[in-house]
């Protein structure tokens, strides 16, 4: 079985899906001749032609709006937003149009499109090449939001997103692009949208994470194992809809839960997860719900000290899990 990096899994899935379905097109800045600023789409324009891999002008609103129109008449556009930090001009189109097309027409018009975008910090990106945007979009009924953390999950979930009849925001953590490798089967498979994955079995504490933080959390769990603390690590994979069953099953097993995200604390996904767990597993909890998050700052500083201060990491996560285990 081949081993691929996170970005190779994504690129190969784009290639395979475009080969499988002529309706799939790619649209974004630098995706064609350049193959994408991260090389996520390298080789695809050469293989599928400029009609299906389109270099868009610097115009995020149009990239998304044009994709919505094309999706309405049966194409399967995959729009790339070069950095998640640049998605905001398209917020209106995503929230007011893509997410509402099916509902407002009672199912007559639909919007089968994917928006792919690199997100997250830890690569010296400063305020505008490091953002977490999931909280804004998980709040929008009609959208689905996916954030894989492994090459295997990336392939299966990207394929699922492309084949899904609803608009999907597919978040690719840029720090993982070339730093995470894993086995990825060659054969065709999809993973279910809306299902989390227990990445490490454990019994003392549940740690819920996604994106780059999934790997920091796994590293923290490995450290704590040597201290005889058994951490179950749940990788959300899909952020909207959340997999309540897997989350609550784990909470009921360990009775203690810690949520980890690099996004700012207030109104981040940890808040929603805390509400769900408190509502539905209150009597199963032996400790308050803990969140390890980015601080409520306007952005991740560019300088090394600031960036390190902002981001959760294995050590900070291990400290929180240790305290929770001892509660």
């Amino acid at each position: 079985m081949p081993t691929k990096t996170f970005i190779e899994a994504i690129r190969d899935t784009l290639r395979d899906e475009m080969a499988r379905d002529d309706n799939v097109i790619l649209l974004g800045e630098d995706v064609g001749a350049n193959g994408g600023v991260f090389l996520a789409t390298e080789g695809l324009q050469k293989k599928f032609g400029a009609n299906r891999v389109i270099d868009a002008p610097l115009a995020e609103l149009a990239i998304i709006g044009v994709s919505i129109g094309a999706a309405a008449v049966g194409l399967r556009p995959i729009a790339e937003i070069q950095f998640a930090d640049f998605i905001h001009p398209a917020f209106d189109q995503i929230v007011n149009e893509a997410a509402k097309m099916r509902y407002r027409t009672n199912g007559a018009w639909t919007c089968p499109m994917v928006i792919r975008t690199p997100w997250g910090g830890g690569i010296h990106g400063g305020l505008y090449h490091s953002q977490s945007i999931e909280a804004f979009f998980c709040h929008v009924p009609g959208l689905k939001v996916i954030a894989p953390s492994t090459p295997y999950d990336a392939k299966g979930l990207l394929a699922a997103a492309i084949r899904n009849p609803d608009p999907v925001l597919f978040l690719e953590h840029k720090k993982l692009y070339r730093s995470i490798k894993g086995e990825v089967p060659d054969d065709d498979y999809v993973l279910p949208i809306g299902k989390a994955d227990v990445k490490r079995a454990g019994s003392d504490v549940t740690a819920i994470a996604y994106g780059a933080m999934l790997h920091e959390t796994l590293a923290a769990a490995e450290k704590l194992a040597s201290e005889n603390i058994s951490v179950q690590v749940v990788d959300l994979r899909t952020l909207q809809p959340l997999d309540r069953e897997t989350i609550l099953t784990s909470v009921r097993k360990t009775s203690k839960v810690c949520i980890i995200h690099e996004d700012t604390r207030t109104m981040g996904l940890g808040a929603e997860l805390s509400a769900i767990i408190s509502e539905e597993a209150f009597s199963d909890l032996d400790a308050p719900i803990v969140r390890v998050t980015g601080p409520d700052l306007p952005g991740i500083p560019f300088n090394d000290v600031g960036e390190h201060t902002f981001l959760p990491n294995a050590e900070k996560i291990a400290n929180a899990l240790r305290a929770l285990a001892k509660y």
Partner: protein
Amino acid sequence: MDQPDSLALYRVMLLARMIDDRIWQLNRQGRVHFAVPVAGHEGVAGYAFALDPGRDYLVPHYRDLAALLHFGMTPRDVFCNLFAKANDPMGAGRQMFAHWSSVKQHILSLSSPQPNHVSHAVGIALASKIRGEDTVTWTGFGDGSSSKGDIHESMNFAAIHKLPVIFCCENNGYAISVPQAKQMAVENVADRAAGYGMPGVVVPGRDPLQVFEVARTAVERARRGEGPTFIEIKTYRFMPHTSNDDDKRYRTREELDAERTNDPVVLFRERLVAEKTWDAQRDDALKLELQAQIDDAQAFAEASPAPTPAEAFTNVYAE
């Protein structure tokens, strides 16, 4: 396509006006929440006769009722939408009135924020080009909308790729209360077209046949793969923006009275009568016929069931 069927054109213009009058009455009687008038814009319907209904796509201005009637929308469709009934074909009563939509008639769903729909028209045209079809997409918006970034990005994208989309600005001189002089520094919105690499044309909306001619040229250009055109139709809005607007606050009755002498429905009727294609007797008979259609549509809609509470929860996602 030489000339449009003038009587068919007159019919949809008159029907739109008569529907308009009825809807306004119903709103003033408190029987429907919301009216969005068409009156004054009927002449733009000439464009619909330059398109091929069922093949081409419309992503229209919300005042394009006359054109939509030519594309196959019926009075019953309009009234079920007006009364927001469960059988409202636009979306089962989920949207406010006049947020037009029909898959069968190739009318893409409209939202409220203006002009969000224009980039969608460009996307439909992109799909046509990729598929090698000579389908044309027509999109309409107002003078206010022309100030928005969506128009800039959409025109730019369409021109770069020579897409078969036609941008039609129905300039009635007001964005609710904001007059053109506060909306733009230029006399004609179409003057901007050259800056995007496409032709710009200005045409008076009180003459539907001139609108047809201009539209036909643009449609044929698009079908030949030569790209988009920007058409500016100078028109006027006789009624307030919607039933929630008091237009006495921002324009005089003198101005309105003067503009009423350019009523496109009246002018077209007079022209047809002068050409001996039409006469007063047939006009009276047509009005009776259309009134009966409107009465039928209203009764049908009022008798239709409202959506149930459970129906609010369907079609968020495909599953």
